[in-house]
């Protein structure tokens, strides 16, 4: 640009700014309650993380507790319980990712092939129901179905004379993780399909016409048109999932876990609860929680970075 831009004197600009803010002062007052909430209930606990580096206990106040560096972390990494919880968390959440992530996509593709609109709606509505139930309720319901003594599965097996061979999936170390993965998919699959079905509904029908004219078979259409079109949505969902990689499903495991399976089901979150709340070892509990938060942060930023590399338009941030 050849023309010189008119530059406002600093003082006048400042005056104008202050005037604008003054005029909107009620807007600034309006956000105060919400900002106080975030400072108090989100940022103060972040400051509270420092107790992971302090020798804190109930009798000594927070600010009196001396800093002891990484001692608590060193101790934590040397305990069997924490390492077990960490390994379990990784195994459970990776299994959930591997099986649970594709499940709603496949289900959406299947639902999309249903031409009968009423049936499609009925199936969708049914599949969404468990999403609205708490894990407490789901736990009770699953017990009714799966209990090896009185569950329906046992009744079915008895019809075939195999009642005795029914295993207790809720109380057997060999099956418990599978049970966690399957029950989570069962609870969440209807919910998962909502965004994918909407994305599929938004696909231009002419793309299918064109594919058919080119002689594309049904599977080829699903692959090259449907899946290709909802790819950005899939990537976005994947980033959101990866960010929670260390959230292996706290409420679920908190409800379903029991002494028989604790060895394979104890995750970082349940460890934090047990150590930090039940045993009142606040520093150790906070340290374990912090470890989880930091990895979560790294994972979500990393996933976002990778997604941006692959596709400029995708990504969360």
């Amino acid at each position: 640009m050849a023309k010189k831009m008119y530059k406002e004197p600093v003082r006048r600009r400042l005056k104008r700014e202050i005037g604008a803010i003054k005029r909107d002062r009620l807007l600034y007052i309006m956000v105060i309650p919400g900002v106080i909430f975030f400072l108090l209930f989100r940022y103060v606990p972040m400051y509270g993380i420092t107790i992971a580096f302090r020798d804190y206990n109930l009798f000594r106040g927070f600010s009196d507790a001396p800093f002891i560096g990484m001692k608590i972390f060193n101790r934590m990494f040397n305990t069997v319980a924490f390492n077990r919880a960490f390994v379990n968390t990784i195994i459970i959440s990776l299994s959930k990712l591997a099986w649970g992530f594709p499940a709603p996509i496949i289900l959406s593709l299947m639902l999309n092939e249903v031409g009968h609109m009423k049936l499609k709606k009925a199936v969708q509505t049914s599949l969404l129901l468990p999403h609205f139930m708490s894990w407490v309720v789901i736990g009770g319901v699953l017990y009714m179905i799966l209990s090896p003594n009185s569950g329906i599965i046992r009744d079915i097996a008895e019809l075939f004379g195999k009642g005795e061979s029914v295993v207790n999936v809720m109380g057997d170390k060999r099956y418990f993780r599978t049970f966690l993965v399957v029950s989570e998919i069962w609870k969440g699959m209807g919910y998962g399909t909502i965004v994918y079905l909407a994305a599929i509904a938004g696909i231009d029908q002419e793309l299918y016409e064109a594919a058919r004219c080119d002689g594309a078979s049904k599977p080829a259409q699903i692959w090259h048109v449907t899946l290709a079109s909802i790819r950005p949505m899939i990537v976005l969902m994947l980033i959101l999932r990866v960010g929670h990689i260390l959230g292996a499903g706290f409420e679920q495991i908190f409800v379903l876990s029991n002494p028989l399976v604790v060895e394979v089901a104890d995750i970082v979150d349940t460890y934090v609860y047990r150590i930090g709340v039940e045993q009142a070892n606040y520093s150790l509990g906070t340290a374990a929680g912090l470890f989880k938060s930091v990895i979560g942060l790294i994972m979500v930023l990393g996933a976002n970075y990778v997604a941006k590399k692959i596709d400029e338009d995708s990504g969360l941030i």
Partner: protein, 291 residues
């Protein structure tokens, strides 16, 4: 267009799988409901329940007599109604200023709030804070720590931003106060998003149980889901044992009591379900538009 036989077969398989899946999500809840209104002895023989066996509401009567269910029901309704209202009020009071370009703190506050979605202090520091604030065993412990969900607040802000800016601007130039603009211009135009977020927050409150376990020790202040958990978990101590003792005394099985308790908590959801799921699906779609 004529279909090839292979396509017909795969279509039939597809329909069959979907119908079976739908049954596996519906039947368990039906089973629980029917079991809860069956006579204990008849129900014990197991198998599928299409209808109640020897209809009986004894389990509910006993449950009602323990009084704890009424108390915990009341506590859950209280936190759901008051909590959801405050969730919406606080979310809106943040979302509206943040939706305005002329709001100077917009960038800073957006980053500040967004960061809490990525990183948090965790369970223990939050627990200690709630205790320091003397909120333990008060209803506020169940409401204040989750007052604003950043995710929901951003959904609301995005919706406000999608409204024509001229409406807000002209009202503002006419000298209308921000609160007035929010209440009489923005919110009436945002009913779909208010309904959706009200649902998200409401369902959260109805189903929440872990904060009850963390922050509530007094059984009189406890929420429904925790009461339910105590009944369901056989190893639970305290009030549960008395309920089970009474159940056995009245000729009721433990199972009947559990099923009645579960039913009591899911019936309200099932009653509003047709309405709920419709608005919920809409809400999820409003929220999934990237902002």
């Amino acid at each position: 267009m004529k279909k090839r036989p292979a396509e017909t077969t795969s279509m039939v398989i597809n329909y069959a799988i979907l119908v079976i899946l739908a049954i596996t999500t519906l039947y368990p809840f039906w089973h629980v409901l029917m079991y809860s209104v069956s006579d204990s002895r008849a129900a014990m023989s197991g198998g599928f329940f299409l209808w109640p066996r020897d209809f009986s509401i004894k389990a509910y009567q006993l449950l009602y007599r323990t009084r704890m269910i009424i108390t915990s029901y009341g506590n859950t309704i209280q936190r759901t109604v008051l909590g959801t209202f405050l969730n919406l009020a606080f979310s809106a009071s943040l979302a509206y200023p943040l939706s305005l370009k002329r709001f100077r703190l917009r960038g800073f506050l957006t980053m500040m709030i967004f960061f809490t979605m990525l990183f948090s202090g965790g369970m223990i520091p939050t627990f200690l804070l709630v205790r320091e604030l003397r909120l333990i065993d008060t209803p506020w412990a169940l409401i204040l720590p989750t007052l604003v969900s950043p995710f929901n607040m951003f959904i609301m802000r995005n919706y406000f931003q999608s409204l024509p800016a001229s409406l807000e601007e002209s009202a503002s130039l006419d000298g209308a106060k921000p609160l007035r603009i929010l209440l009489s211009i923005i919110l009436p135009l945002s009913l779909p998003v208010i309904a959706a977020l009200g649902l998200f927050y409401g369902i959260f409150h109805w189903n929440a149980f872990f904060d009850g376990i963390l922050y509530i020790n007094d059984p009189q202040k406890q929420v429904l889901q925790v009461f339910l958990r105590n009944i369901i978990t056989v190893t639970a101590i305290g009030s549960t044992t008395t309920i089970e003792d009474r159940a056995l005394g009245a000729g009721l099985s433990e199972e009947s009591m559990k099923m009645a308790a579960i039913s009591a908590s899911i019936v309200p959801i099932i009653i509003v379900y047709p309405w709920l799921q419709k608005h919920f699906v809409k809400g999820v779609l409003i929220g999934s538009i990237k902002g």
